[in-house]
Symmetry: C2
Subunit: 381 residues, 2 copies
C-alpha cells in the first residue's frame, strides 16, 4: 500500500485512499455528516424478465455468465450458513473455471471453511476481500499476501457502505434454505435452514445483479419472503447450499465453570440493583457461555419479580427461545439464528422477528434500534 | 393546459409535458425501456435522530413544520382507511392554518370523504391532485376547476413513478392503526385497523420526510412493522386516524341476484372445463358481488375435486379467509384488506401475507407476480 497517511481523530495514521478509492478518515463520534444521496440502482423493467416468473437457470456458472461476470467485479455473499457455507466456494470455483480474474469478494462475514478460497487469492481469481477475514484468511492478509488492501467492515458499516454507494456490488449471490423460481427466499425451511437472511438484504436491494441459490426450490410463493424476488435476476437449484450440522454450530451452551457462573450471577444482580431489570426492559446477550448465563440469571430474577422484558435482541438460541415461549420476553428481534431451536422459533412464532442491519445497525439511517437496548451483555466463553 | 400534443401509440393526442414536467407518451406494450437509475433519497444519519428512538412530536402541525412544509411541495397519503380516512383532511387543515399554498396532494387513492378538501382546492392550499379523483373530486377536475392538471396513476404506476423519481414526495404522512414512537407501523391492530399498509411503502422508502400518524401508540417494537421506523422522521399521536365502520365497508357481499349467480356459476364452470382449476392453481377475484360469487363456485369445485389453490390474490374478505382456513387456499397474497375478517386473518395467520405495489404491480421491477396469477375474475356488482 503506497499512500499518503493522515492522522485521524483517534490519533492513528490512516490512508486517504484504499485500492484507488478515496476514503474518509475517522472524524470522531457524531462528527461526520453525510451529504450525498443513497446509491441508486438502475431501473429494471418487467420486459426483461419472464412473465411466468420463472427465473431459474440450470447452473450457477451459467447464471454468473448471464449476470455478466467479468474481471474486476465485486461479488457478494452472506454468512448465514456460517462454517457450513458451500455457496461462496462454489461461486469462485465457477469464476476460476471461467478464467475470471481480480474479483473483489465482499462477504458479510467469512469463516474458516472459506480457507478453500486461498488458492483463488493465490492465483489471482480473487484480488482482495472486503468484509471479514478470519482464521487462515486473516493470517493470509496479515502476512501481506493479498494483492490489494483488505477492508474490514462492521455489519452496520457494511449495510451503510452498500446503501451509500461506497461499495458497488456487481453480482450478489444469495444462498437460501428455501426459495421459489421467482427469487423469493428465506432461511427457515429445508435441510440448509439457517434462520433469517437479513445480512443479504442490502445485497438484494442494491446489487446490479442478484442470484438466489437454493437446494430447496418450492412452488411460488416462498413464504416468508425475507428476500423478495422482485430484487432477483436469476435463481439456481444446486444439490446443497450448506452443511446443516455446521450451520447451527451447537457450541452456544451455558458455561459450567463455577467462576464464570458466579461472574454471570453478579452481573445479573448488578443489573437488578441498578434498576435495569424492570417491567418492559430490553436486553441483548452475546453468544458466549458466560453471557448466556447472565440471560438465565435474568430469567430467574424476572420470574421472581413477575415482570417481563418487552424485547430481547438476538442472535437467538434455545435459551432466548425458552424465555419467549415462557412469556418472559414479548419479542425476539433477531439478527442471526444460532441453533435449531432458534430456526424453529423464527419459522413458527410471529413474536420471533427477522431483522436486518438496516433495522438495527446502519448508522446512515433515520435512527436504529441498537441504541434502544437497555443492556447488552457481551463476553467470551 | 397549453401544450404541444403528439399522437401516442394508442392513437391519442397527448401532451409532452404536464404541470411543467416532461412526460413520455405511451409507446406501446413493452416498447418503453427505462434507462436511468432509481430515485436516490438523501443519506440520513443517526446523529440527527434521538438515540432513545422516540421521534414523537406533539401535534401533526408541528411535525409538518419540522418536516419543512412549504409552498409547492408534494404531500402524499395512502388510502387504506378508504371512506373512513381522517388523515388527509387533517394534513391539509394544518397546511391551511399555516397559510401554505400550491401543494400537490399525491394520495394512493381518494374517496368521497375527501370532498372535504374541495375548499382547499378552491382557496389555493392545494393546487392539484396526482393519484386518483373519485366522486366530487373527480367532478371538480372534470369541470376544469383545478388550477393545475390532474394525473391519474394506477397502483403499480404510482410505485413506479416514485421509485423512478418521476414524482418526488417532499412529505409522506402515513396513517396507521398501530405504531411505536420510532415509527414502526402496521394496520392490523387498534380501533382504526385497516389491514395491511402496502400502499404507503413507496412513500416511506422514497419521501424526503416521513411522518407516521396513529391513534394507537404502542411500546417499541410495533410488530409487524410493515412500515419500518428506520424510514420515518417523526411520529404523532392523534385522537383518531380513521372511522372504523367506514374503513371496512362491509359492502362486499355475495350477490343474491339469480341472473348474476348464474353468470358466476357459468364463469366458474368455464374455468373448470378449460383446466384452469387444477391443483396448485392461483386466482384473483374482484370485490364485486358477482366476482365474489365466482370465488365461491371455485370453492365448490375444489371441494368436489379434492384440490387446492397455491395462492389467491387479495383484496381479502371473509370469503377468501374462509377458503384459507378451510385449506382450499394455501396462501392469500393480500394487497388490501376489505373487511374485519380480513383484518383478523392478516393479523393472526402467517399464510395471509402482506404485499405491496412493489411486490405485485410495479412494472419497473425484476418481474412482479401480477402476471403469475392463473385467472383473475373482475366484475362489477
Amino acid at each position: 500500500m503506497s499512500n499518503n497517511l493522515v492522522k485521524n481523530a483517534a490519533g492513528r495514521f490512516v490512508p486517504t485512499s484504499i485500492n484507488g478509492k478515496p476514503v474518509v478518515p475517522f472524524k470522531g463520534v457524531g462528527k461526520y455528516q453525510p451529504t450525498g444521496n443513497r446509491f441508486a440502482p438502475r431501473i429494471p423493467s418487467n420486459i426483461d424478465y419472464p412473465s411466468d416468473g420463472n427465473k431459474q437457470i440450470s447452473t450457477l456458472k451459467e447464471a454468473l455468465v448471464k449476470a455478466g461476470l467479468k474481471d474486476g467485479m465485486t461479488i457478494s455473499t452472506h454468512h448465514h450458513f456460517r462454517e457450513g457455507d458451500l455457496v461462496a466456494n462454489m461461486v469462485f470455483d465457477c469464476a476460476h473455471e471461467l478464467g475470471i480474474k481480480n474479483l473483489c469478494w465482499f462477504p458479510s462475514a467469512s469463516f474458516p471453511c472459506h480457507s478453500y478460497l486461498l488458492k483463488y487469492l493465490d492465483d489471482g481469481t480473487i484480488s482482495h476481500i472486503e468484509g471479514s477475514m478470519n482464521g487462515p484468511l486473516g493470517r493470509y492478509c496479515s502476512e501481506g499476501k493479498m494483492s490489494k488492501t483488505a477492508v474490514l467492515r462492521s455489519h452496520g458499516g457494511r449495510y451503510q457502505a452498500i446503501q451509500d454507494g461506497d461499495v458497488k456490488i456487481d453480482i450478489a449471490v444469495i444462498g437460501a434454505g428455501c426459495a421459489d423460481t421467482f427469487g423469493n427466499a428465506n432461511g427457515v425451511n429445508g435441510n440448509s435452514a439457517s434462520g433469517l437472511l437479513g445480512f443479504a438484504l442490502a445485497d438484494a436491494q442494491y446489487a446490479n445483479r442478484v442470484i438466489v441459490v437454493t437446494d430447496n426450490m418450492v412452488a411460488f410463493p416462498c413464504i416468508p419472503w425475507q428476500i423478495q424476488g422482485n430484487y432477483v435476476d436469476f435463481t439456481v437449484k444446486v444439490d446443497q447450499v450448506g452443511i446443516p450440522e455446521k450451520i447451527v454450530s451447537g457450541t452456544t451452551e451455558i458455561t459450567r465453570s463455577p467462576d464464570r457462573l458466579l461472574l454471570a450471577e453478579m452481573t445479573a444482580r448488578f443489573c437488578d440493583i441498578t434498576g435495569i431489570i424492570h417491567n418492559g426492559f430490553s436486553f441483548q446477550t452475546g453468544a458466549g457461555g458466560t453471557a448466556l448465563s447472565v440471560g438465565n440469571f435474568f430469567a430467574e430474577i424476572m420470574r421472581e419479580k413477575g415482570i417481563k422484558a418487552r424485547f430481547a435482541r438476538g442472535g437467538s438460541n434455545k435459551y432466548l427461545v425458552q424465555m419467549l415461549e415462557e412469556g418472559l420476553v414479548e419479542y425476539i428481534l433477531d439478527g442471526q439464528t444460532f441453533d435449531l431451536e432458534g430456526v424453529r422459533s423464527i419459522r413458527d412464532n410471529p413474536r420471533h422477528v427477522m431483522t436486518s442491519p438496516f433495522t438495527s445497525y446502519n448508522y446512515h439511517s433515520k435512527g436504529n434500534f441498537a441504541s434502544m437496548v437497555d443492556v447488552a451483555i457481551l463476553g467470551a466463553t
